[in-house]
């Protein structure tokens, strides 16, 4: 039993943290918001330089072959900096979907090396989400059809844009026709594969929500330390302190829940779905509270377009409801916890 990350995992996390601090400043995010596609080729290239696109691509296809536990720390950083990129769909979900396919499949042979070197973007569509994010700048779309997995090229889809309040998100309705040629995997294998995708997306989002919550807490803390009223920083007043302390508590007790879920996925734990839903609910609650307290501490500034807080709040609000909203995850958790003979109580914290 050891609930710590390795030195390698932590130093990669630290390196990415420092890198994004410079390369993904809020001013840059605002610039990317204004672009047509909402994505930056330059930022993508830099993420690829850092090895992030190659993280879980197998070494045989030019990647680093790392797993769910390595991703979870990186996802926290992607959330902290509200990175506007389809990195998760491309380098985590698409790579996961490819793993069930035969070695000679095009998804592996043709696409995995391109994913690893950062030259391909993949969009992933599943009916749990009404829209497909980043469909317009994807080089490949991986789409659900009756639990089958289909690979579709941009030329074979018709897209309709649906603008999001988070201007970095580009959401599309995708019209397409499944064919025998587009089918990569049948429903027999596909059902479990898509469940695994929902769970990995869930952990990625939960980790991003943790990062977003931490960023909103940091922004609120900085603002409260600088803004003066009654001749003092407002952060010296207990009412303000306690708002921020409450957010810190929520983050503190959501983090290990998210990290356990990532570990469970890496081990094909039969309880993984329950752990993921718990992670989504806990991280979602932390992020929503961080947003609400963040606005409150910022005062009227928190309600403006000008304050950076908005970018992180909007991302959190949007992410909290995709790849299973709170209703989905609460229902899934309830089913597991309230089932007859569910493994609960002391000594059942981890699956035996």
């Amino acid at each position: 039993m050891d609930f710590t990350f390795t030195e390698d995992q932590l130093s990669l996390r630290d390196a990415i943290h420092k890198f994004l601090m410079v390369e993904a400043a809020p001013e840059l995010l605002r610039e990317i918001w204004e672009t047509e596609i909402g994505r930056s080729a330059e930022l993508r290239a830099k993420l690829a330089d850092q090895g992030l696109t190659a993280l879980s691509v197998p070494e045989a296809y030019g990647g680093m072959g790392l797993g769910d536990v390595d991703w979870v720390l990186i996802q926290q950083e992607l959330g902290y900096y509200a990175i506007p990129d389809s990195l998760t769909a491309t380098a985590y979900l698409a790579v996961y979907l490819s793993k069930a396919l035969p070695e000679n499949s095009a998804l592996k042979k043709h696409w995995l090396p391109k994913i690893a070197d950062g030259s391909a973007r993949v969009a992933v569509g599943h009916p749990i989400n009404p829209f497909v994010a980043d469909a317009a700048n994807a080089n490949l779309l991986l789409l659900w059809h009756d639990d089958e997995l289909h690979g579709v090229l941009p030329a074979d889809v018709t897209l309709t844009l649906h603008p999001s309040i988070d201007s970095s998100r580009r959401l599309y309705r995708v019209a397409w026709t499944p064919t025998a040629k587009s089918r990569l995997c049948g429903a027999d294998k596909g059902a479990a594969l898509w469940q695994g995708t929902i769970d990995r997306a869930g952990v990625a989002i939960a980790a991003q929500l943790l990062g977003l919550a931490q960023r909103m807490l940091d922004l609120g803390t900085d603002y409260a330390a600088q803004r003066k009223q009654f001749g003092k920083p407002i952060g010296s007043f207990q009412a303000v302190k306690h708002h921020l302390a409450d957010v810190a508590v929520k983050i503190e007790f959501a983090r290990p829940v998210v990290q356990r879920a990532a570990y469970a996925l890496s081990r094909h734990d039969p309880q993984a779905a329950r752990y993921v839903s718990h992670a989504r609910l806990a991280a979602g609650e932390a992020a929503r509270l961080a947003a609400r307290k963040g606005i409150q501490v910022h005062g009227a500034m928190g309600y403006t377009w000008e304050a950076d807080l908005q970018m992180f709040m909007k991302r959190a609000w949007a992410l909290d409801a995709i790849w299973g909203d709170a209703i989905f995850h609460k229902a899934r958790l309830a089913e597991a916890v309230l089932a007859d003979g569910a493994p609960l109580g002391p000594s059942e914290t981890f699956t035996h």
């Binding site: 039993m1 050891d2 609930f3 303000v240 302190k241 983090r255 290990p256 002391p346």
Partner: protein, 387 residues
């Protein structure tokens, strides 16, 4: 990261489970806040000690098993899983002992720890005074050196277990001209010394769970001082740190309550589901109890790799005390009009423990440093906001 138990840890769990199955009293003991119940609990502490389960993290030569923190968590899980009695000596075993290990002399360790483990000395704590609650540095009770003794005068209050306990630890002002947290000294003393008067205070349940202690020229040997004279604040902060941190409230206790709450809800589901917010509170209870356990496993893992407990420990106190309230409030909502029945009556067989726990949960956000103080600590020391 490896979130599986080793074979050795699994064997340890089995050993604890088997011992508890054979030894945990079949009938619940009376409350340790009665004289009779106190002695029943003392006998349980002695029995635990016979099996060398009283303080598993202590070194073997002092009666423990030199267990690491993960083994301690496993032990606690099995302890609560077996519905074993509350620890009447928790002030000693979980609060004072870690401080003794750090600050006590070898002579003090040998003198106090084995008797503590065996339940021969049950400990009370003496922090608060009438004018020093959340503001502990306002302590006024004095211990003035006179030869090889301190002469103590003053008053302590809210002293947990002091109504029946044998010994007490507390902070006293050894330098009468000192201010705030300077000039304080950590002293251990038996509660039957001449000049000590104990006045029990009834808690919400009508039992004397704590007491006032009055000191009238009480002579305590200097050998009973822990740590250097005048350094009592630092010594006490170490104790308070353990209290807020890991030892006092192991997560297994809350997981057991959460599990009981799920079972209670299942038994009353048809009625309870008429208010959907009850199901939500049950699920939240389960989630938060597990989150607290996961967080503790993470902290324990970090400490085993040489990490330190920092100000984030203050988040624990807030989290478990609010969780405890939520669980007991939810249980009483499910029990409806039966919830008010006195715990020891026959008709209260199902509701009694919940009412008992509900009353105790009311104190959680207050003792061991009020939750307001914890929030200040988080804001100032963890987030760095100005004082």
């Amino acid at each position: 990261m490896r979130l599986e138990y080793t074979e050795r840890q699994k064997k340890f769990r089995t050993e604890v489970r088997e011992w508890m199955a054979a030894n945990v009293p079949k009938q619940p003991l009376q409350s340790f806040d009665t004289r009779e119940g106190f002695e029943q609990h003392r006998a349980w502490e002695a029995k635990l000690n016979e099996g060398r389960w009283s303080a598993v993290t202590w070194p073997k030569e002092l009666g423990g098993r030199s267990s690491d923190l993960i083994d301690w968590l496993i032990f606690e899980e099995e302890y609560w899983r077996a519905s074993a009695p509350l620890r009447v000596n928790q002030n000693g075993v979980f609060l004072l002992a870690p401080t003794l290990m750090e600050y006590g002399t070898d002579e003090q360790k040998a003198r106090f720890l084995p008797r503590m483990a065996a339940g021969q000395d049950i400990w009370a704590q003496g922090w608060s005074e009438p004018g020093a609650g959340s503001d502990m540095a306002a302590i006024r009770s004095k211990a003035i050196k006179d030869g090889d003794h301190y002469v103590i005068n003053g008053q302590k209050t809210w002293s947990t277990r002091a109504a029946f306990a044998d010994w007490c630890f507390g902070l006293f002002r050894t330098d009468p001209d000192s201010q705030r947290h300077h000039g304080l000294t950590f002293v251990l003393f038996p509660l039957d010394l001449p000049g000590i008067t104990i006045r029990p205070i009834k808690q919400l349940n009508g039992l004397p769970g704590f007491a006032e202690i009055f000191f009238d020229n009480v002579r305590v040997p200097v050998a009973n001082r822990m740590g250097p004279e005048g350094q009592g604040w630092n010594v006490a902060m170490a104790t308070a740190g353990f209290e807020r941190g890991l030892m006092l409230r192991s997560p297994a206790r809350f997981q057991k309550t959460a599990h009981n709450l799920v079972a209670l809800y299942q038994r009353h589901r048809e009625r309870a589901d008429r208010d959907p917010s009850i199901r939500d509170a049950v699920l939240k209870s389960y989630m938060d109890a597990e989150a607290y356990a996961l967080s503790t496993y993470q902290t324990a893992s970090r400490l085993l790799r040489g990490g330190q407990i920092g100000p984030e420990a203050s988040t624990n106190k807030i989290f478990w005390s609010e969780l405890d309230l939520l669980m007991h409030e939810t249980a009483l909502r499910i029990l409806g009009a039966h919830g008010e029945l006195m715990p020891d009556t026959a008709a209260a067989a199902e509701s009694g423990p919940w009412l008992d726990g509900f009353l105790f949960a009311q104190a959680g956000p207050i003792y061991a440093g009020s939750n307001e103080i914890q929030r200040n600590i988080i804001a100032e020391r963890m987030l760095g906001l100005p004082r």
